[in-house]
């Protein structure tokens, strides 16, 4: 029960956080970028047309009137119209969200499932070659920029070997998406029973997900290693060995769970970045996700789009931190007593 209560209380925080962030964004965007009417007006337009366009974009009213209107629309679930797409921002976001989530989930799951065992292997072989290997490779993964890793992977697997398709988005050019159900292509193609399209979508996903996975794996493995090393030296691990437990049981059952807390914190932070739309990654791979959308909104002073994105992002962060705290309580009983 206290867990459910905590979750509710934390979910409630989304409201003030989102309101604060969107308010700051609203005014900052308008004050710092000025009036974007020019961007959406042909150069040869008359002053009259220009005024009309300004009116239509909702930029003619005083700032506080615009703000009041935006908030009252928002309360009714209306995110406003994107200048660029001409569509409702809510529809735009839910259109792009599955692309970001699908890439982010696959990449992170791969990074965590590979990173945690690598960290454990390094820790239990401390100062021997598996440790040096893992530390060397992950140091590379931390030091090299994500876009660079992405480009190298494209060069190896697409340009040189030709094993995987080029960076043209979620499906090869000319292939129609499956009937829209969840927006996750892997799920929608599977539900439609379209094995060929599933394969195509998977192949498109492979390189960006691998890039994301490698950049997730590196910090996950290093943090896992560090906290495993510490836990391995603890009194309770000595007890487990003294009672005759085998090495694997000691490492993976008695030690790992104690070592996971810092890893969970790290993953929570990484999730914030990843699901907020990895802008460069999406650009390189032509991935039609939220990162690209947000970038475009900034470039084109697309106020409603930008505001919609920051609302989504603050929701995301609150949820990520909530997930971290819930996991903490599940992993460590000492966290359950306040």
């Amino acid at each position: 029960m206290p867990l459910a209560l905590m979750i509710l209380r934390r979910l409630f925080w989304i409201i003030p956080v989102a309101l604060g962030v969107v308010t700051i964004t609203f005014f900052a965007a308008r004050v710092f970028t000025g009036d974007p009417t020019e961007l959406y007006t042909p150069p040869e337009a008359t002053d009259e047309l220009r005024a009309q366009i300004r009116e239509r974009l909702g930029l003619a009213d005083p700032l506080w009137v615009q703000y009041g209107k935006y908030l009252s629309d928002l309360l009714r679930g209306d995110f406003g119209m994107s200048f660029t797409t001409g569509l409702n921002v809510g529809a735009d976001l839910s259109d792009r969200l599955p692309a970001t989530l699908e890439l982010g989930l696959v990449g992170m799951v791969f990074g965590v499932l590979a990173g945690v065992p690598l960290g454990v292997i390094a820790a239990v072989n401390r100062e021997r070659w598996p440790d040096f290997l893992v530390r060397g490779v992950t140091l590379g993964g931390m030091a090299l920029p994500q876009f660079w890793i992405g480009l190298v992977l494209i060069w190896i697997f697409f340009v040189t070997l030709g094993w995987l398709p080029g960076p043209v988005g979620r499906l090869p050019i000319g292939v129609n998406p499956p009937p829209l159900l969840t927006g996750f292509l892997l799920i929608d193609t599977a539900l439609a029973g379209d094995g060929e399209k599933f394969r195509l979508a998977l192949r498109q996903l492979a390189l960006p997900a691998l890039t994301l996975g490698l950049t997730t794996l590196a910090p996950v493995a290093r943090v896992t290693r560090a906290s495993m090393v510490e836990a391995l030296q603890s009194d309770y691990i000595r007890t487990a060995i003294a009672m005759g437990h085998g090495r694997r049981v000691v490492w993976f059952r008695y030690c790992l769970r104690n070592a996971l807390l810092p890893v969970v914190t790290l993953i929570g932070g990484v999730a914030g970045h990843v699901f907020g739309g990895a802008v460069l990654l999406e650009s390189i791979f032509g991935w039609p996700g939220l990162g690209q959308y947000a970038l475009q909104a900034i470039e084109r002073s697309d106020f409603a789009a930008l505001q919609g994105f920051v609302i989504y992002a603050s929701l995301l962060y609150v949820l990520a931190f909530l997930a971290v705290d819930v996991l903490y309580m599940l992993i460590d009983p000492r966290m359950r007593t306040p």
Binding site: S234, D235, Y236, A242, M243, G244, H245, Y254, P333, R334
Partner: protein, 266 residues
């Protein structure tokens, strides 16, 4: 002597620093534990008591290296055993109670789970049967409401309660031939200390355990132990029956120790 269960012979060891230099800490340690007896190992802090005890089970710090000697248990040198053979001895044949019991228990598993998993490891059987054994063991060390306590985590136990649980695990769940106790009462209230000591002696006598009790408390030694090993600065300075050590200490260090404990006038 045929009734010696374990003997430490000419055991020397050192710590290896990061630069590879060795700092000797144990020098030709020699003593024997007789079957069925409670042997005390006494000596001031840093004299090498814990290190010797941990070496018996092969759980000494990674930077500690043996430079000479052997530790014979039932005729086999524990220091030369492979990982599998050592595992077969740990817990089952030789078990250990550690000083800070709350830290020595895993914080993310319930006390009952930890006892039950050790039981299954050593005696097999179902999860439920093992948990029943765990609860039973907690009851036998006088933990009230053992069913409820078994579902709690170590941080919900008091220090004395945790030490009882630790003893239940090392002595009753493992049912070892040799039980080593490294300062099992240090850090506890005086009244709880004497309760725990009574429990240890009672278990020792009833189960026919051979015990090795590492302690600072010479009062406890005088009351409960059969033999005494006195250590100082990594050396054994004197061994003998409790009676001999208390009535006719041979070594100056032993006399100093006795005087400091106020048991015997200087």
């Amino acid at each position: 002597m045929s009734d010696v269960l374990l003997s430490v012979e000419n055991f020397s060891g050192a710590f290896r620093a990061a630069d590879g230099r060795l700092t000797p800490v144990l020098h030709d340690v020699n003593f024997a534990l007789r079957t069925g007896a409670i042997t005390a190992v006494v000596g001031e802090t840093g004299s090498g008591k814990s290190l010797t005890a941990l070496s018996i089970l092969g759980i000494q710090p990674a930077t500690f290296v043996r430079t000479s000697g052997r530790i014979l248990f039932e005729g086999r040198d524990l220091l030369t055993l492979g990982a599998t053979a050592l595992r077969a001895i740990r817990g089952r044949r030789i078990s250990m109670v550690f000083q800070d019991a709350r830290a020595a228990m895993n914080p993310v598993f319930t006390v009952g789970q930890q006892l039950a998993e050790v039981f299954r490891l050593q005696h097999g059987g179902s999860r439920d049967a093992a948990m029943a054994k765990a609860i039973d063991a907690l009851r036998r060390v006088s933990i009230p409401e053992p069913e409820r306590r078994a579902r709690q985590y170590p941080h919900e136990f008091s220090g004395g309660m945790a030490q009882r649980a630790m003893i239940a695990m090392a002595a009753l769940i493992c049912r070892p031939t040799l039980l080593i106790l490294d300062e099992p009462t240090t850090g506890l209230d005086v009244t709880i200390q004497s309760e725990i000591m009574e429990l240890i002696v009672e278990l020792g006598r009833s189960a026919g355990l051979t015990a090795c009790l590492i302690t600072h408390d010479l009062g406890v030694v005088a009351e409960t132990c059969d033999a005494v090993v006195v250590m100082n600065a990594g050396r054994v300075v004197e061994t003998g029956t409790a009676e001999a050590i208390f009535t006719a200490p041979q070594h100056a260090y032993t006399r100093k120790l006795l005087a400091a404990s106020l048991l015997v006038p200087a």
